[in-house]
Amino acid sequence: MECKGKVWKFGEDIDTDAIIPARYLNTSDPAELALHCMEDADPEFPGKVQPGDIIAAGKNFGCGSSREHAPIAIKAAGVSCVIAGSFARIFYRNAFNIGLPIFECAEAADNIEENDQVEVDMKSGRIINKTKGEEYSAVPIPPFMQEIINAGGLINYVARRVKQNA
């Protein structure tokens, strides 16, 4: 999917309980999780988010729990990518492992506002803010993570290793 759409802007230290509250973790069905994505941070989000929309936030996005349900819910809600000042480490791993594109860029996090139209070039990590006519560049994705993305997520990557070992 292309990373192109309207921005939903959130603050700093958005934790995994805000992304998907534990009261919904009695399921891991992506479609159901999507219905409650970000609802404690912005109750309108799950009802109004459109396919392709982008989440932008401040530092330490995804802090807290290891729940993979968090990036799963965001992806299933149709969000094309997350741009943040920085990411908490388990969220960072999980996003790559399940194939949710994320971009670390403090400048973008500072300047992008709610409702801006934004486009990201996945390969170069160039973030284009169409509304403001600005451009920012994200921290490049490490080659190993790129390999995981190219394989289509960690499980596909591991599946290849399993075959090699066999």
């Binding site: 309980d17 805000a18 534990a22 009695n26 404690d40 802090c63 729990s65 290891s66 729940r67 480490r89």
Partner: protein, 420 residues
Amino acid sequence: MAMTITEKIIAAHAGRDSVAPGELVNAKVDIALGNDITAPVAIREFEKLDVKTVWDKHRVVLVPDHFVPNKDIQSAEQAKMLREFSRRHELVNYFELGRMGIEHCLLPEQGLVLPGDLIIGADSHTCTYGALGAFSTGVGSTDLAAAMALGEIWLKVPAAIKFVYSGELSPWVGGKDLILYTIGKIGVDGARYRSMEFTGPVIEGLEIDGRMTMANMAVEAGAKNGIIIPDDITKNYVTGRARREYDFLDSDPDANYEQIYDFDVTNLSPQVALPHLPENVKPVEEAGDISIDQAVIGSCTNGRISDLRQAASVLKGKKIDPRVRAIIFPGTQEIYRQAVKEGLVEIFIDAGAAVSTPTCGPCLGGHAGILGAGERAISTTNRNFVGRMGHPESEVYLSNPAVAAASAVAGRIIHPGEVA
């Protein structure tokens, strides 16, 4: 090359002589852990792989603890997935209700995690085992699936931050206060992607339970792991529990630290983290006049026997304020039994508290103690995010067990010295 204990453990498990911060390695794991929230997702991913069974049936550990005893039909289905998977793959370390505990209290107690180990768990508080001198870190479900298949994990070697605690601890001050104080100083991302090494005379004098409380909350500062150099206290703890070899490692004197913090904690008061971040820390005297509706004592942070002893020493012969619900969660069945044996449970019940079977329960707002709108809890757990214990308009204050117990008696947040 001089290395920290964390670097040494990672190097040993990656088959390398040395590693340096920033390097990506593939490391062998000693234990891979999942629970009833994260393992169902991992099992589904695992089943997409073309492997017959798990890499080692002794080393994949599954603990249903979050929504157990099953709180509703959907949770029952999730727990059932763990049970069936464990039977199908003949897992030796699956822990059923009645024989279980909160994972991070249970694994050390059962001798499953040991000094020098490299442990991954699909639960962020897997970092708890650093208290034993192991490298242990939280990962996601897909990482767990990969580890269940291969017995390996990809890791970036973290840079290290050293924390040196010196001075004399005041009464009612322990591991929880030290870690809350530390998070208050460096912030919830102050150790992001880093290893936190807790050292100094105060740590050397800290019992294993207090050390686990500290390592447990390393993730609340964004850290990859928290770790304490193993010593005689560690040895006493693992002796009689360990059923395999283990390794006592130490950081080299000239190991590289990105930062070193020196904290003199002589006059440290019990600490309280105010809503809605674990970094909003104040000494209890400065928390303000905060009335409470609920007091929660337990969890993987403070559900061990010494925590219950501390709470009981405050509650003995007292009554919990009529407006307060106090809920006590022993960390494991063994801790529960010990608490019964020592008469602690009787003290709790006499005081008017509810004592639960081991479960994560209200810690993550799962069940057994959810807060309504506008309600406030003092809790010995580790997170006070918006909605963490229930309604998004409820509030959680984090503290040690003595503060939580004293506050339950007073009906508002107070210093334990005021009632004990």
